[in-house]
Every structure is written in structure tokens, then in C-alpha cells.
Amino acid sequence: MPPPRTRGKALRQRLAELRGSEVPAKALDARALAALAANPGCRRRAILDGAGVNKTALASALGAPSAFGQSQFALTRGNAFEAKVKADGGAELLRLVHERLDRHAEPPVDAHVPDLTAIGPEGRTARTALALREATAAAGTWTLLDHPMLALDVAGSPAFLEPDAVVVHPDGRWTVVEIKSFPMLDGSADPAKVGAAARQAAVYVLALEEVAARLGAELETGAPGSGSARHDGPLPEVGHQVLLVCPKDFSNLPTASAVDIRKQRAVTARQLARLTRVEDIADTLPEGTCFSPDLPAADLAAAVESVPATYAPECLSACELAFHCRDRSRASGAVTALGRSVRAELGGLTTVADVLAAARGEAGDPEDPAVAALRRAAQLRAEALGAVAAGGAAG
């Protein structure tokens, strides 16, 4: 029996050890969170992201570098577009919010754009909460929060998120705004990209809801310290429609569409709740495990191997470590490396060798419907290919 772990070590310190001394933590962003939520069973990703490990550096150190990168052309264009949308105190952006989401409200003129600068992510989060509170109290006015900062607890470690903008409506409602540089062509955009933006926005909405809940509770009971009586203004509410702002057709002019993200919000909330707590995963790791990219590749591989991963081909477009995991998954002969749907139709058979042995009739229980179907499939396939090889066509 191993001795019980010293629980005294604060989680934060434990995670810093995992990351390696003097390696700065990499902050989780909404995109990473949305990807994490898409594969909630992956403990490897949960602990690496939770500990703030730089997975790009880790993948390179492991000898399986990721293929991600952003072209500077895309970056320049994206920044130029966002700056254009937010120009003049966000006049155009607020006009779009008014037009698409809140036509009955007063048109936004002289909207309030509070300064949100503060030191450190915690400071900016506090500053954002304060600004949200003031904006909600100031009924009847529009407020634009440019790059606010929100905190969200992910599997036991805090993640700081920075939406492009949050707008507070005159009735106190909060709306998340996502500015993307892919075009909206004749009113429709690439569904895959819209889906990704919606999942990302859902993470922001979840984080905002936590702020709203805290603020609501404060207002209900009377704000501590202010000594004021019960609040009688509107209670904060986060809109379930987000505003997606994109360039119109082939121009650089902004156009927008309201996107209902209730479904993405529910899915993400559920997946985030399912994420195994980072703390629990950290406890299963052997003492001294470290993911610092400076370590020799063999040590790193062993460290990474000590946390199980659930690789699927979808990881290739979402996780920096995917090529390493794919390599391992293939080496172990896992059928999931060919796709989740493949895994789904093979019943209890999980490795390539098992499936092929069962199909050839060398192993497996013929009573098992999956095995029976496999044998039938193998027989039909051989018959069809044999018929062609023999020069005759069946039928």
C-alpha cells in the first residue's frame, strides 16, 4: 500500500510541479475549453490543460510536433476587421446589437465604454465584474465592454477568458459578441466555423452567468458594505442569443447575425461538469511526474503515458498533442484511430488484431452478434473480390 499522499500541498503548487519549475503557465482560452469539452473523457488533455502545460512545446519535445499555426495574413486581417467593428466607441457594433437583438430598445447613442485595464487577470476579472455591475445598475443606457475578462472554474483550476466584447442592454441584459473574420456570404456562413464560434461563445456565456449569479445574489440581499436597501432595478441576465459579427460578402463591412447558443451552452456545461477533476487526476500520477519540455524525450513520453488519453481522429484538428496520441493509439492497434463510428459498430472488439481474428473465424464467440456480422462481412467481401479476380461478375 502506498502511503497516503500529503494533501497539504496546495493544488496550485502540485500543478506547478507538473509543469516544471520556472515554466510559465499557459492560460486556457475559450477555444481550448470548447475543444476540451468536445472530448471530456481525455484525462491527458484535462491535466495538461489544467496544469497550464504548453502542449505545442511538449509535442515538439516528444518528437511529434503539432501542425497548428496561424498565418500572419489571417491575423492581420482579423485584427483589422475587429478594429473596424469597434471603431468610434463601438458605434457600428452597438448598432448591430440593437438591430439584430433588441429592436424595441432605445437606439444606442453615447454608449458607455468603461475602461477595463487592470493589473493581472484577477485584477481585470474584478474590474470587469465591477463594470458589469455599474452598467446593469445604470438602467436605460447601453454599455460596451471591450475585451472584458471572465473567470471560469475548469476541472478545479481557474481559466481566464477574454470575449471580444460584451454589451449591456438598457434593460440590464448582457450579450456576448463574437467577432470573426470568415465571411457571411449572402446571409450564410460556413456552418463548421459558425459551430465553432457558437461553442466558444457558449463558454463565455457560462462564465458570464456565474458573474450574473453572484451579482444577483448580492443585489437580492443588499450589497455588502454599501448599506443600501434591497435593489429594485433589473436583475442581471445573460442573453442566450449571442451576436456573431462577420465581414459581409467579399467586403470588409461588418454584418451580424444572432446565434441561439442554448444547445451549445447546455452541452458545454454538461461536458465541463463531467471533466474529471484535475486534482483527482494529479493524485493518480506517480510522485515526481513532470511535463517540462526541457526533459529528455524518453522521460517525457513516460510522463505523458502515465495519464490515459482517449484519442479519436477529431483530436487532430483540436489538440496539439494529437500526433503523439495517434502514434500511440495506432501502435496499440486501437480501432478508434480509424474513427469513433468504426469503434461503435465493432461491439466489444477494440483492437485491429482482435477484429481481424474474429472476422477470420480464429477467435471470438460466434454467438456474439458483432462477431457474427463481422464473419458474414468478411465472407461477402472475399466472395465479391474473388468473383472479380476470377473474371466473372456476380449477379
Partner: protein, 533 residues
């Protein structure tokens, strides 16, 4: 994915080579296809960076936009593209053959046959990947509403004369590509993965280099190793050895090579504009030409490997014998091509931004019909596809063990022989379900009567033959299966019937927006100072 193709993938994993997913070629390949390998600029909506295009694998035409943000250079690129694509299309528009088509006579309302022209062959456009198909559609959309100086002398940035026409054609190719089984515009990755099962997932099959690595790995290497090299291997400068098939470029290429080259080009251009005398201008023009040549070299270096791979893919596909129904589907493509040719020569306006309700419903219905047709024809053409249908209980093959003559109970009895088939397949046969077999290329209908006791484990099915036996009391010779015949029956129909006819556009019900009314000519996209196309 059916269990049979899953098995093929698993076999590919263990053998290190792609396995056949088809025994015949299910898509038409033109004798002289036009291959297009386009590249776009990251972050811009389909702003072209360059392309290799042509019908000769040894001499592709290289088109490059040295500064993709410059409208005039983009127009020059599109005009050059039109110079290659339009003559190719025109070559097919001219040669016609006579054909007949059923049309409703406007006066009598009767269906009559009319003599029409049908193009003897149609052009075929081949792009490397599915993203290339989307780009063709996007380019079409960006060009077809452009105004030339001739159409609208007032327009501030007139498009070169043939650009709107190219836009209409590319739109047509893009729309046709959405019809299942069509071959006017093909994406090489789609066609290759239709015919071979690799040892990787369908997502990874979208990478043309990796896909080809599995199908034809280099000597002494497994598909997995070769595919990994295609995906990730980089040279000393950090550039991919197998550049992505596009239209998106690799970010490392953009940042390390292309961006500095474009910057040099911009500087040379500014310097040329600032030149004060002829001699200085000559020098600087030389620099500009050199800068442009550098960009051309760069663009060629990342498109040429893909270009060669597309042709390799064509070679591989040509090794497969062509499926029996491919020609028939290609004829539909020819009809589609001819119809669009006629629309253009009749001076009709470009395709609208959005279809009206009737057109949209029509397109959807025809795609569904073509999907069903494709599935049926592929199964009939290819025993491997049929094996999948047999596995799923939609078809069965077996040996005829008994034939009993019987007659219908009408005044004039017709032959309705009962055929007993012994099969190991497990078809999902309901009461009086129809089963079809192919008789000289035509479907013969039978009706399921019942099961019979089988002494040796297989299933004995009794089927009643219903048609294709001639008009006489005795069935025509060869029209009834005989004992010992090995036959394959399908539960799906071999030929697709069209659904109910849709109303004329003028009769569109109010629930669907009502009649479209007078056609309003679509306006051109407004030009802005910062637009990209």
C-alpha cells in the same frame, strides 16, 4: 460506413496498403480533364493567391497574384483564368448531336417529343480536394455579378470582359458538384477515397498526399509511414515537403516565405512609383519584375507537387475498369452542361443569389433522386458494393433450386412462375415485398411469396416473377430463371421514378412565399475601398 469498408480499412492497417473499396470506377473521367490547383490568401474570403491550371500534365499554366489585396491584380488573375477555362468549355459547347426530349406543348398541354441539341461531350474540372470544390463555388459567386465596362459604363472598377461569364460557369460547376454521382467537377480526394479504403480515418483521407501515400506507397515503405511523411515532414527551412493541397496554404509558408516576398514586391512597387526619371524607372522596374518572379517561384513550388499528385490520382483511377452505368450518369452531366450553355446563349441573367422556392425544391428533389439512383447503380455495377447491400439485408444472392410454372387468375392468364432460391443471405423481406433482378440490363420484378423448409441450413425463398416475360401465354425464352442459375436480387428499385411534379413558379403557394413575381436583375456587389474580391 458499412462493416465491409471498416474491414477493408483494418486490412489496410495490417497490410500497410490501401485496400479496394470498389472493383470498378464509379465516376466518369474525361479524356482531357481540366485540372485546377488553386491557392487562396489566408483570412480573406477566397482571395486567390495563385493557381496551376491546364489540360496537359507537363505544361500547366501558372497564374499568380503577387499582391492579393490589390484589386487590379486580382482581376488580372481572373481574366487569365477565364482565358484558360472558357476556351476549354467552348470547345465542348460547339460539338453537338441531335437528341430528343419530352416537353409539354404550350398550346395543347400534351407531352410531345422535341428535337434538341445535346453536346457530344462535356468539360470536366478536377480540383485536388473538397475545399477546392467550395472555392470554385465561391469564385463563381464572386464573379458572376461583376459588371464589365460594356454592361455598365458607370461602374468604378469594371471587371475584365469575360470574368462575369467565367463566374456563371464556375457557379454551374459548383452547383452540379452537389448532385450525387455527377462528374462535371470532381474533387480528387473524394474520388480516390470512394475507390480505396486506407488504414486511416475519413478525416485524414482529406489530405491528398496522405491518401495517395496509402494507395501507392513508395517502394519499401508502408502506407502509414509514407502518409506520416506527407503530413508532417519538413525541410531544413521548416517547410512541408508535401504542401497542403489547398486552397489554404501552410502558415509556415505564409509567414516565412510568402510574407517577406510580398513585402519586397510592395517595396519595389512603391519605389517604381516614386522613380523620377526614365533610367531610374528602368532599374526599379527590373527590381519589381524580379520580386514578382520570386513570388511566382514560391507559388509554383507549393502548387506543383499537388498538381503532380492530382495526375497521379488520375492514373490510378484509370487503372480501374469503368462501371456499366457511369456512361449513363455522364450523359446526365452532358444534359446539364448543354442546358447551361443554352441559358447563357439565350442571354438569361446569372444564377440568382438565392433560389426561389420552386427551384430550390426542384434541386433538392433531383439530388435525392440522384442519390438513390447512384446507390442502386453502384450496387449493380460492383459486386463489392452489392456485398454491402447484401450484408445490410437489402439484397440477396443465391441459386435457383426449383421453378414451377403458374398463371395469374385473370380472364387471360399470364405466366406467373414461382422460383425457389436458396441463399445464405438474410434479406429483410416483408409480406409481398418486391425483389428485382437485372435481366439484360432491365429490372425484372418478382414478389416474395414465402419461405420454405430447407434441409441444409440455408434459406429457401419462393418468389413469383411478375413481368418482362412477353405478351404470350408462354414466357419468352430466357425471361424466366432456370434451375441452377446463380442470381442476385435487390429489394431496392433499379431505376428511380421522379416524385410528384412541382408546380410552376407562378403557382407557388403563399406558404412558400408565393409567386416569385417579376424577375429583378440581381445587383452587383457594392464595391468598397477595402473589399477583397
Amino acid at each position: 460506413m458499412s462493416l465491409i469498408s471498416t474491414l477493408a480499412r483494418l486490412e489496410a492497417v495490417t497490410t500497410g496498403r490501401a485496400q479496394p473499396a470498389a472493383t470498378v470506377r464509379h465516376r466518369h473521367l474525361a479524356e482531357r480533364p481540366l485540372v485546377l490547383v488553386p491557392l487562396t490568401t489566408a483570412g480573406e474570403a477566397g482571395a486567390p493567391l495563385g493557381a496551376l491550371v491546364g489540360t496537359d500534365r507537363d505544361t500547366p499554366r501558372l497564374l499568380v497574384v503577387p499582391q492579393p489585396r490589390d484589386r487590379d491584380l486580382r482581376f488580372a488573375f481572373l481574366a487569365e483564368l477565364a482565358d484558360v477555362v472558357l476556351p476549354y468549355i467552348d470547345g465542348y459547347a460547339r460539338e453537338v448531336e441531335a437528341a430528343e426530349r419530352n416537353e409539354t406543348d404550350p398550346e395543347t398541354g400534351k407531352r410531345v417529343k422535341v428535337e434538341v441539341e445535346l453536346c457530344a461531350d462535356a468539360p470536366q474540372l478536377i480540383v485536388p480536394s473538397r475545399a477546392g470544390t467550395d472555392l470554385v463555388r465561391l469564385l463563381g459567386r464572386s464573379m458572376r455579378f461583376r459588371r464589365t465596362a460594356e454592361q455598365d459604363p458607370e461602374t468604378p472598377h469594371p471587371a475584365p470582359p469575360r470574368v462575369p461569364l467565367l463566374g456563371r460557369w464556375l457557379t454551374h460547376f459548383g452547383e452540379r458538384a452537389r448532385v450525387p454521382g455527377s462528374s462535371l467537377l470532381l474533387a480528387m480526394t473524394d474520388v480516390l477515397s470512394r475507390h480505396w479504403a486506407t488504414g486511416q480515418s475519413t478525416l485524414e483521407d482529406q489530405h491528398l498526399g496522405a491518401l495517395l501515400a496509402w494507395i501507392a506507397p513508395p517502394q519499401g515503405s508502408t502506407g502509414a509511414e509514407a502518409a506520416l511523411r506527407a503530413e508532417l515532414a519538413r525541410d531544413a527551412k521548416g517547410q512541408l515537403l508535401c504542401p497542403p493541397a489547398g486552397p489554404a496554404t501552410d502558415p509556415a509558408f505564409d509567414n516565412k516565405l510568402l510574407a517577406p516576398a510580398i513585402e519586397r514586391y510592395d517595396r519595389a512597387r512603391t519605389a517604381l512609383a516614386a522613380a523620377e526619371d526614365g533610367l531610374e524607372a528602368d532599374d526599379r522596374l527590373g527590381e519589381l519584375t524580379a520580386a514578382e518572379r520570386d513570388i511566382r517561384v514560391l507559388v509554383e513550388s507549393v502548387t506543383r507537387p499537388t498538381w503532380d499528385k492530382v495526375w497521379e490520382g488520375l492514373d490510378l483511377l484509370r487503372t480501374l475498369p469503368v462501371g456499366a452505368h457511369v456512361e449513363e450518369r455522364w450523359t446526365r452531366d452532358r444534359w446539364s452542361f448543354t442546358a447551361h450553355r443554352d441559358r447563357i446563349s439565350a442571354g438569361e441573367p446569372p444564377q440568382p443569389r438565392r433560389d426561389d422556392a420552386v427551384t430550390a425544391a426542384d434541386k433538392l428533389a433531383s439530388r435525392e433522386r440522384e442519390q438513390a439512383r447512384l446507390e442502386a447503380q453502384e450496387a449493380l455495377d460492383d459486386p463489392l458494393v452489392m456485398a454491402g447491400r447484401r450484408l445490410s439485408g437489402e439484397a440477396f444472392a443465391g441459386e435457383v433450386t426449383d421453378v414451377v410454372m403458374a398463371y395469374s387468375e385473370s380472364k387471360r392468364p399470364s405466366p406467373r412462375p414461382l422460383v425457389t432460391v436458396r441463399t445464405d443471405d438474410r434479406p429483410h423481406l416483408g409480406e409481398r415485398a418486391k425483389a428485382y433482378r437485372s435481366l439484360d440490363g432491365k429490372p425484372q420484378t418478382t414478389e416474395f411469396v414465402g419461405y420454405e423448409e430447407s434441409p441444409d441450413g440455408g434459406t429457401l425463398l419462393v418468389l413469383r416473377v411478375l413481368d418482362k416475360m412477353g405478351r404470350g401465354k408462354e414466357p419468352e425464352a430466357g425471361s424466366v430463371p432456370e434451375k441452377g442459375d446463380r442470381l442476385c436480387f435487390t429489394l431496392f428499385e433499379h431505376e428511380q421514378r421522379g416524385g410528384p411534379k412541382l408546380p410552376d413558379p407562378e403557382e407557388t403557394p403563399w406558404t412558400h412565399g408565393g409567386p416569385p413575381g417579376e424577375a429583378v436583375p440581381e445587383s452587383a456587389d457594392p464595391m468598397t475601398a477595402e473589399d477583397v474580391l
